[in-house]
């Protein structure tokens, strides 16, 4: 099996010199990294009670085994605190799940983010932001946990632009993309409970997504107009999903959540409505050459939905209390290409 990043970090020098030396070795995402050192890496390993050579998982298609030291070094370089390690470790195990199929979304021209959604008590404990600017900067845990995963992908799995990352455009979320669900602000059961975990079990959900599409509706006081806007965004003609029919993540921020809560809509109702309305006729798809073939009688009345089932639309709450904004995140690929996985975050006893 191949391994990457076998060379040891450079010997201690002036911090700026070390940072430059790391750039020269190609170990960064373009931003400066924290120079790793033995004591710091050991603290990362201690936080999850692992030894350097312990195996965390394997990316079968890359024929590459991931050891704990690679996770620890990249987490430290990303700026993580040791207490973030259980989240990082769970996310790395998620990358290795066959259903997630790392090689597809990581390598494809589609240029997916690896979106990390944290649920459970660990989110407030680590101050993982779920509210204002949930997808944006300002929180160390959000910024560095997501970045640790990307650095590991680049340094330990050779997922580098033009090599084993063939993104045509990529997206800024590839630097880092980690947020928590705003469970306290949600009218529904949180994502991890919906997916079979106990509320007190912290989890991280991995979702290979294309870029975020923000949806605005500041007039609607009822669910239907709001959700029609969302469905329209989900079913744009250029969307990968309109042909791939993979999963979709839909994130409602505070004021839109209030509209849905006031109307008493269940999560299931929301999914069903979005599924029914996020679609395009075969006629539209053929005229736009998103699918091949001549237009046939009945094509204007036959529809392709953006997901195969309502359950493939993952609905959750995050974001600030003000602003009539929500967002949808199309999945990379197809349901066979990559599936969302939710991993338990194991805390050392």
């Amino acid at each position: 099996m191949s391994t990457q990043q076998n060379a040891r970090p450079p010997a201690p020098q002036e911090p700026a010199d070390v940072i430059e030396a790391i750039y020269e070795r190609g170990w960064t995402d373009g931003l400066p990294v924290v120079p790793p050192h033995a004591a710091g890496v050991q603290a990362m390993l201690d936080a999850v009670r692992l030894k350097a050579a312990d195996e965390v998982g394997t990316i079968e298609a890359r024929h590459t085994r991931i050891t704990a030291d690679k996770v620890a070094i990249n987490a430290m370089m990303a700026g993580c605190r040791p207490e973030y390690m259980p989240v990082v470790l769970a996310a790395v195990k998620g990358l290795c799940q066959p259903a997630f199929n790392y090689h597809g979304p990581a390598t494809s021209t589609g240029g997916s983010n690896i979106v990390l959604i944290v649920n459970g008590p660990i989110a407030p404990e680590l101050n993982i932001n779920a509210r204002d600017n949930a997808f944006g900067p300002g929180w160390r845990a959000n910024a560095t946990i997501g970045r640790a995963i990307r650095l590991l992908m680049m340094n330990a799995l050779n997922t580098r632009p033009g090599v084993l990352d063939r993104s045509a455009l990529g997206t800024p979320g590839k630097y880092t993309f980690c947020f928590a669900e705003h469970e306290a602000g949600s009218p529904w059961e949180p994502l991890h409970v919906e997916r079979g975990f106990r509320p007190e079990q912290s989890t991280v959900t991995l979702f290979a997504a294309e870029a975020v599409i923000q949806v605005q509706n500041d007039l609607s006081k009822t669910p239907e107009p709001l959700l029609i806007c969302m469905a329209d965004a989900m079913a744009n003609l250029g969307s990968r999903n309109i042909t791939g029919q993979s999963e979709y993540v839909v994130v409602f921020a505070g004021m839109h959540t209030q509209v849905l809560r006031a109307a008493g809509w269940s999560k299931r109702q929301v999914k069903r409505f979005l599924y029914d309305h996020a679609r395009r006729s075969l006629g539209e798809l053929k005229r736009a050459e998103r699918i091949a073939g001549p237009i046939e009688p009945g094509d204007e009345q036959r529809f392709q939905h953006v997901t195969r089932t309502p359950e493939d639309i993952i609905v959750l709450c995050a974001g600030g209390a003000v602003g009539q904004k929500s967002a949808c995140l199309p999945a990379w690929g197809s349901p066979e290409g990559s599936r969302t996985v939710t991993m338990p975050i194991e805390l050392p006893s």
Partner: protein, 77 residues
Amino acid sequence: MLDGILLEKAGIPAVSIITEPFSVTGREMASSWGVPEYRFLQMPHPIANLADAELDARADGLLDRVVWLLKVGQGPE
């Protein structure tokens, strides 16, 4: 690419064909699997929007090289 490598490892003759812009990626995959000199064929990109007749022409153009690589395999020429 990976399918071809795995078939060859299983003793089944195979020919991997990739489009030219992915030659670097194909070579890296071969290196990951411990066969950095793995032989594969290349053709122009893209293929997704080719009509049936164009695809047939591509296949015809590749046929001699496919036969050659099946005969040569991954051993010495």
